[in-house]
């Protein structure tokens, strides 16, 4: 057991180091002028998408509750934090925390009735709740109504987004790896059995829903303070956005955090790379999605989380293969 603990500590250290290196590399490239502000914007959006995907994965992938309203929680965070910084001159971090808490509370309020439903019915109900949030925002003149909320100060930087993204991943990962997280996973696996083992299934479904909603709210706050503008268009905070996030979750693998991170990055960058193809862009994007689902329905990473052991064994296998090849030629 001490062995397992040591390897865990080692893995955490390596992960932290890798996270730092990536951050350092991006900052260096930005300073040297290789990365333009456009690149940094895309990278920040990737970080925000990672937060949205990982938080939805907690609800849909780990707890097994199909949600189509995730953009609604993001919308709450985006608008509330913007309103707090614009109208009340609140510090940005305080506004972010408050918008996360608010989104989590709304998650609880929506989750309590909605999570009694299962499967398709839950999906429809969450879709409805997401749209209700959007329509409510659409009808508040103070935040711009259908024209959108303009004049939001640009408080979000790549560094801050990156840091909060790391915090999101660590918190959700640690939650999953605790007794409470296992309770959530057991609900996905077999709700009846979970209840028979003394797990209050409603409580844990709502908890997972609230945590996921909270992080989506924070992501929304980062989003609106990055673009300095947010509008109640379906593609930005409506069901189209929810479906985008869900696609990323499914593509990365349900219940796989590494996969979520990976697919969020790929699917954020892909449309940018495909810009050269102009109007064929979305066609290629859709075809890639279909091919992906045909050939790898369990997601990019499937059930495998990124781990040191997996990397080590992969490196070992490659070494072996090289060794064999050189033996053959000699």
């Amino acid at each position: 057991m001490s062995n397992a603990g040591a390897s865990k500590a080692k893995r955490n250290a390596v992960m932290a180091l890798a996270a730092l290196c990536i951050y350092g590399a991006v900052q260096l490239l930005a300073l040297s002028g290789t990365l333009l502000s456009y690149h940094l914007q895309v990278l920040s959006l990737a970080c925000i998408n990672i937060m949205l995907v990982v938080s939805l994965n907690l609800i849909t992938g780990f707890t097994g509750q199909f949600s189509l309203g995730h953009a609604g929680f993001m919308a709450i965070g985006a608008y509330l934090s913007a309103a707090l910084t614009v109208f009340y001159q609140l510090p940005f971090l305080a506004a972010l925390v408050l918008s996360g808490v608010a989104a989590a509370l709304v998650g609880i309020i929506i989750g309590l009735p909605a999570l009694r439903l299962k499967g398709d019915y839950l999906a429809i109900a969450t879709l409805g709740f997401g749209e209700i949030i959007r329509v409510v925002i659409l009808n508040i003149p103070a935040v711009g109504g259908p024209r959108g909320f303009t004049g939001i100060p640009r408080y979000t930087s790549f560094g801050l987004t990156y840091l909060i993204m790391i915090i999101t991943i660590v918190v959700i990962r640690n939650f999953i790896d605790s007794s409470h997280g296992r309770a959530c996973v057991s609900i996905r696996e077999d709700e009846t059995a979970a209840a028979s083992l003394g797990i209050n299934t409603t409580y844990y479904k709502v908890t997972a829903f609230a945590i996921g909603a909270g992080f989506a709210g924070v992501a929304g706050g980062l989003f609106s303070h990055y673009l300095q503008y947010i509008s109640p268009a379906p593609g930005q905070i409506g069901f189209l956005r929810s479906i985008d996030i869900l696609i990323m979750v499914v593509l990365g693998g349900l219940g796989n955090i590494t996969g979520s991170v990976f697919s969020a990055i790929v699917l954020t960058l892909l449309p940018e790379f495909l810009r050269g193809f102009a109007e064929y862009r979305m066609v290629i994007y859709s075809v890639l999605l279909i091919l992906m689902m045909l050939f790898r329905p369990e997601g990019i990473m499937g059930k495998n989380e990124l781990s040191l052991e997996a990397l080590e064994s992969l490196v070992g296998r490659m070494k072996n293969r090289k060794g064999m090849r050189s033996d053959g030629t000699s």
Binding site: D177, H180, R182, S186, D190, L197, T201
Partner: protein, 261 residues
């Protein structure tokens, strides 16, 4: 109504739609007893188990366990009173490892809050260490110690049945409800199961209430039997009593004229 410890069920009725699945059933199980519940298909045996564990709501009667009223309590509350069960159609967490299946059953004993799970406090580490130890001990007891890191769905049928029992044992039950534990097992596996039931009954100081169709197993293992037919208790008592009970014979073999001629 309930003075002694153990399970006391009085006048239990369960109505599902227009069907009286269970009507006016009285049961008692004293601590340390091994009692069987038998009856033809569709007699309402599983419904009795479901009512005891809160999976279906009784329409009448009372359930007491160790002087605590459990009538109308939801399943997760019933589980906190040290009542554990297995299911007729195995319900494992198939995509998780054998060890994680057991860890989940330990859930109600965890004391740390969500935050200490997220921040990895010493309380978290201590309790995770403990649950690992407890789980591995129980796996060793049922003979699955070497499968701890395998996915539950990769176990053989008999091993899955065992794992389900092991998972129930992690809950430190005082009463273990086994719903057809030998279903689908070959004679060798059934013999192993009988050994296991004896072992856990002695090692864990619990009472066992089991539904079973394998008469050989029932007659060998159970100290007492209840016989259910069309939701009504038609016989109870020692194995010998039940064997000679006219109503029981009729329920299983038809009215005497029908099978004697």
């Amino acid at each position: 109504m309930a003075q002694a410890s153990g399970l006391r069920v009085t006048d239990l009725s369960v109505q599902i739609g227009g069907l009286k699945a269970v009507s006016h059933v009285n049961l008692r199980l004293d601590p340390g007893e091994l009692v069987g519940l038998i009856g033809p298909n569709g007699a309402g045996k599983t419904t009795v188990f479901n009512a005891l564990t809160g999976f279906c709501q009784p329409t009448g009667g009372h359930i007491f366990f160790n002087d605590q009223e459990l009538t109308h309590k939801p399943p997760h509350v019933v589980a906190k009173h040290h009542l554990a069960r297995t299911f007729q159609n195995i319900r494992l967490f198939r995509d998780l490892t054998v060890l994680d299946n057991l860890k989940i059953a330990y859930h109600k004993n965890f004391k740390y809050c969500i935050c200490s799970g997220i921040f990895r406090t010493p309380a978290y580490r201590r309790q995770e260490e403990m649950v690992r130890k407890v789980s591995l001990e129980i796996l060793a007891l049922v003979g699955l110690a070497d499968r701890a890191d395998d996915k539950a769905s990769n176990l053989s049928y008999g091993e899955q049945r065992k794992l389900e029992i092991a998972r129930a044992l992690v809950m430190e039950p005082k009463l273990l409800l086994l719903d057809e534990p030998a279903a689908g097992m070959n004679p060798a596996e059934t013999a192993e199961l009988v050994e296991l039931i004896y072992k856990i009954k002695n090692d864990f100081d619990l009472s066992v209430f089991l539904i079973e169709h394998d008469m050989h197993l029932v007659m060998n293992v159970c100290e007492r039997l209840y016989v259910l037919d069309y939701g009504v208790l038609i016989g109870e008592g020692s194995v010998q009593d039940v064997r000679n009970n006219r109503k029981v014979i009729e329920a299983y073999l038809g009215e005497d004229g029908a099978w004697q001629s």
